[in-house]
């Protein structure tokens, strides 16, 4: 796995990326800010963000992960 990884974080409803970064001690160089903070399961207050591998290793266990972010491809036509 190279590049960036996903981490998850518990936050209150309507949380922002800035809140997530503060909570995890992340700076802008370590975060894919264009990706932002993505709600995974609002009922559980669970969000995802995309960070560098080093940051992903550092912020756990305060955050969930780090999780792989593999490439995805269309399946067809069969080759």
């Amino acid at each position: 796995m190279v590049g960036m990884v996903l981490v998850t974080v518990q936050l209150p409803p309507e949380a922002t990326l800035a809140q997530a970064m503060r909570q995890l001690g992340l700076n802008e160089d370590e975060v894919d800010t264009a990706y932002g903070l993505v709600p995974l399961d609002p009922a559980q207050g669970l969000y995802a963000l995309r960070v560098t591998e080093d940051a992903g290793d550092r912020v756990t266990p305060a955050a969930g992960g780090p999780f792989s972010d593999p490439p995805i491809e269309p399946y067809g036509p069969p080759r």
Binding site: M1, V2, G3, M4, V5, L6, T8, D32, A34, Y35, G36, V38, P39, L40, D41, P42, A43, Q44, L46, A48, R50, G64, G65, P66, F67, S68, D69, P70, P71, I72, E73, P74, Y75, G76, P77, P78, R79
Partner: protein, 454 residues
């Protein structure tokens, strides 16, 4: 009919046919045979004589230990020809009596693999698929997808191409479509490609559905490759789709999501067993959001993949159990592929799945002439086509049965229970529960409607 004729020519001819360094022809073996058009392109083949392995054995029994003799005095020779289909059985019986050197005449049936693989021509057309899905009945009973949101998560849709090929107008819901950051273009206006094929195929059963264009595979994020999207893009796309679902009135929620994509290789993933792994890990963020979106009322369909044992896609790199990650999620429908003859296509991935064993769930049709997105003579192929075909069927059913009245889990069970079992033993890893059966589905829904009117 084509026949194989077993001859016993002179020993020197048999020896010549059997000799590896000589090439004997049919003309070397025999002159004309009455009523037979000999195939002179066929190289005669020497056939050994089966003999009892023990002294005193039955010379006419093959159900005993045998030895095989290629001695020129004992072996025979096969040539090929054709006889008239007119009273062919009589001709087969009479020929040995006309020529002393004819030992026997046998049918030479055509043998061929019926397996549909990548690169083989289309099997039927999208109109055949419509007939097999009984779209006429669906429409006559009000199941045409009208009012149903059908998201195609793929490479983007070219609406003009779909409209042209279908011969009717389609609806692209631009307001509810979602385009990843950094991707230029607007909903319904992307280049003709895989996503256009998927959109076309989804509309076969649900012509009235509103297509939500989600070109997630066009995204190019830092850390990705030049040719693929990333799973994080799909996470973001599904988060958007939940806002679409939650904006719908609770009583009439209907969102169907078609996904003809996946991950081919473990090389970009963490190993199974590691906490950050995707392929085998229900706790991965994408698998979490899939579950939460289904829980909120979305019907999520994934292609099973094109890693079937008989003719898998060369990109397939998993050693076994190729239905991975969300494609094997227990809360999605994992769709395998059959051709319009109802035979599983050789590339359709077989179970068990990694997140849940019983995958694929069901099969629908693929490898037919449809969208022509890849050329006029190219089929809509792969489980990539089967998945949106199934998604269209689900969208059609949602026209009258929103998630509030038939939750996604119950709809999956309905599709399982009504599928045409191809194995005669219930669920199997080739076809899942079988091939989707519109008639059986509608019969169950009719009974359900009578019990609790919609």
């Amino acid at each position: 009919m084509r026949v194989l004729i077993q001859l016993r020519p002179s020993p020197d001819v048999v020896a010549a046919v059997a000799a590896p360094d000589l090439v004997a022809t049919t003309a070397d073996v025999t002159g004309e045979l009455p009523g037979v058009a000999l195939d002179h392109s066929f190289t005669p083949v020497a056939l050994p004589q089966a003999q009892p392995a023990t002294t005193g054995g039955d010379p006419l029994s093959l159900h005993q230990p045998l030895v095989f003799s290629m001695a020129p005095e004992e072996a025979s020779v096969l040539v090929r020809g054709e006889i008239s289909d007119d009273v062919s059985s009589a001709r087969l019986a009479l020929l040995p009596g006309r020529r002393m050197d004819v030992v026997g005449v046998y049918a030479d049936p055509v043998i061929e693999t019926s397996l549909t693989c990548g690169g083989t021509p289309p099997v039927g057309t999208w109109q055949d698929v419509a007939r097999l899905l009984d779209v006429t009945r669906l429409r006559s009973e009000g199941y045409d997808g009208t009012g149903v949101a059908l998201a195609v998560c793929d490479t983007g849709i070219n609406a003009a191409h779909v409209t042209h090929q279908l011969g009717r107008d389609i609806t692209i819901d631009g307001d509810r479509s979602w385009i990843p950051g950094g991707v230029s273009g607007k909903a319904g206006s992307f280049a003709v490609d895989h996503g256009t094929m998927c959109a076309f195929d989804a509309l076969i059963a649900a012509p009235g559905a509103s297509l939500i264009d989600v070109p997630v595979l066009l995204s190019r994020r830092p850390g990705g490759t030049a040719i693929d999207g990333l799973l994080s893009d799909a996470v973001a796309a599904f988060a958007h789709l939940r806002t679409v679902l939650e904006a719908q009135p609770g009583a009439t929620r209907a969102l169907v999501i078609s996904n003809s994509w996946g991950s081919f290789s473990p090389a970009w993933d963490l190993a199974p067993g590691q906490p950050g792994n995707y392929s085998d890990n229900a706790a991965h963020p994408f698998n979490i959001i899939v579950g939460s979106l289904e829980q909120a009322g979305a019907d999520i369909l994934f292609a099973a993949g094109n890693c079937g044992a008989e003719c898998k896609d060369r990109r397939c790199a998993y050693k076994g159990r190729p239905i991975v990650g969300a494609n094997s999620h227990p809360q999605v429908l994992s769709i395998g592929g059959v051709d319009t003859n109802g035979e599983r296509v050789g590339y359709s991935s077989q179970g068990p799945g990694r997140l849940s064993d019983r995958k694929p769930d069901i099969c629908t049709y693929t490898h037919f002439s449809g969208s022509k997105a890849f050329g006029d003579d190219q089929p809509d192929s792969g489980t990539s086509a089967a998945c949106p075909v199934a998604a269209g069927l689900v969208a059609a059913l949602r026209t009258r049965w929103p998630a509030s009245q038939l939750p996604p889990s119950q709809l999956r069970t309905l599709l399982h229970r009504t599928a045409v079992d191809r194995s005669d033993v219930g669920f199997d890893y080739d076809y899942g529960y079988g091939i989707a059966d519109t008639g059986a589905i509608l019969r169950v829904l009719e009974r359900r409607a009578m019990r609790s009117p919609v």
